[in-house]
Amino acid sequence: MFLSPLDQFEIKPIFSYSDTFMLSNYSIYLFIIFTIMWSFKYLLNNGSLAPNRFSLVIFSIYDTVLNMVKSQMGNQGGIYFPLMFTLFNFIIMANLVSMMPYSFAYSAQLVAIIFLSMMLWLGVTITGLAKHGWGFFALFVPTGTPLPLVPVLVMIELLSYSSRAMSLGLRLSANVLSGHLLMFMLGSLMLNLMSLSLVGFMGGFMPMAGVVMITMLEFAMSMIQGYVFCMLLCGYMKDALYLH
């Protein structure tokens, strides 16, 4: 009865057709997330006099992301707003869909999310190189550094700049992974304890309170992590565009 807690992150084939076409739970959840994002187009009732409640949600998400982009990158950063809006919605939808019981945690797949963040980091670096040419490497020397310290500081800044590629995705993915593991372990502890005896049934209410708290924390975390991901990416983009 007691499965390994890491079993919930396994990618399993749901439907396969003669070795050439395979639908795993990973691709099905990706499809669900994209369907929700695509449905934004239909939830906004463009022709009506007043917005409905779905439009209000989408407007408030729009306002949040626009404020974030404007406060980080100024008015000229507005062309990166569609990227940030899509990323924010994608991460929030992936996290919130995975909070449904018995569903699959898309954003706990370390390979996919870290690859996403590495590609974003590469795109930011290419943007900076295209905008500034060789002058982009001025990013690695903080202003007002004495000359003997420059080689050391360049190495440190290079290390911190290149570790952003991993840490951006690892932060999101590790959060979701450990949150789901924690919920699973507390839940199975509660189940085992309550099915044991009458005393165990009484004692099982303690982890139940813990599960409720952890679930509330995870709902908050799934939204905060999307916000933090986009905010940090805005900061990296600002570094590449304006240098310091």
């Binding site: 807690p5 890491l6 590790a174 959060n175 992974l177 450990s178 905060i224 933090v228 905010m231």
Partner: protein, 76 residues
């Protein structure tokens, strides 16, 4: 073999100690938020998103420890 198993469990237990640092970090973030808000309550709207950002960053650092411990328990 049992010695290796014991070492695995001890390693997982030691890895969770890093969560104490994350707890202190989160506490410091909110102490600073309360200080700032009580000195100048009109700045609350500006300070709160930054506090949430700091909270998420500090919490993620602690979760790396928790993830290492889970990896030691279930994946090694």
């Amino acid at each position: 073999m049992h010695l290796v198993l014991a070492a695995k469990y001890m390693g997982a237990a030691i890895a969770t100690l890093g969560l104490g640092g994350a707890a202190m970090g989160i506490a410091l973030v909110f102490v600073a938020l309360i200080n700032g808000t009580s000195r100048n309550p009109s700045l609350r709207a500006t300070l709160f998103p930054q506090a949430i950002l700091g909270f998420a960053l500090a919490e993620a650092c602690g979760l790396f420890c928790l993830m290492i411990s889970f990896l030691l328990l279930y994946a090694v």
